[in-house]
Amino acid sequence: MPKWFSPAVLVCGVMFAISPLVIAQAPYESTMGLVQKVFYYHMPSAWVFLTASVVCGIASARFLATGNPRHDRTALAAAEMAVLFGLVTLVTGPLWARKAWGTWWVWDARITSSLVGWMIAWAYLILRQYGGPGSEKLAAGLALFGMANVPFIYVSVNYWRTIHPATTVVPKLPFSMGFPLLFCLAAFYFLMFLLMKLRVRVAEQQARLDAIYLSLDEQA
């Protein structure tokens, strides 16, 4: 790994360690009270989930166009990020909703489309794991559908009836709530970047290992 990686991990760790203190400074929301503070981890993880789905889609499109395995490794890493942060989003959301809405889950457009997006990312990884030779191209095609789902997830709260907060909430946040959110967003995006870097490195090492085995087979 590059020299800057370990200090970067340390900085990211510190950001996550102090994030509860930053969030504690934010005022309580008037109707939801304490439980609304789930928002400061829920929304950044949701944004990282959507970003990872888009990165996976773009890298997959570039892989399909050029055949360069570097793009394939980026897509694979991004798909894992989408699964990881999608899981965080889909678990923290119901924990918040249970108190705020009185129910764990509603089958509205936002939550259902998020679940579909998360399952597409899972399907990508399952296809890569068990699909056999050539599965990386099939998975790349699937990733394009995952990316196409992202704008639908984002705007769904503005066009369909739902109790999920609208997209207008974030731009209208006062500084006292906006700063903790931006801080957590920075921490989550930084973590995503570092984890992707690590995952791409693992995929590169795996490719190197496969190449060594292949050369051994050819020489045998």
Partner: protein
């Protein structure tokens, strides 16, 4: 004359009524509602009984455990692959194929 008095009385009573209504509204807006009885928490609807803190703590603990778990898995994967690459490299060098 009687009509004038009647209209004046109606107007005054109507004004008085509207002032009284406004006063009630303002008083309801300006002050918290007076509590007329104490209700035990177990008689509230389930949604209002639910404490927020355990849900909040569960959410934060879940996030941190999930992220640490993934980082642990990644570091193990990396170690295993690196060890295998090193072993194969040294085997190939030893057998003169590297």
């Amino acid at each position: 004359m009687l009509r004038v008095v009647a209209v004046t009385l109606l107007a005054v009573s109507g004004f008085g009524q509207s002032v009284a209504d406004q006063a009630v509204t303002l008083s309801a807006q300006g002050q918290p509602k007076q509590q007329e009885q104490f209700t035990p928490i177990d008689q509230l609807p389930p949604q209002e009984q639910l404490p927020a803190a355990p849900l909040l703590v569960a959410a934060y603990v879940f996030v941190l455990l999930t992220l640490f778990g993934y980082m642990f898995i990644m570091s193990r994967r990396m170690t295993v692959i690196q060890r295998e690459v090193d072993r194969l490299d040294s085997d190939m060098k030893r057998s003169g194929r590297g």
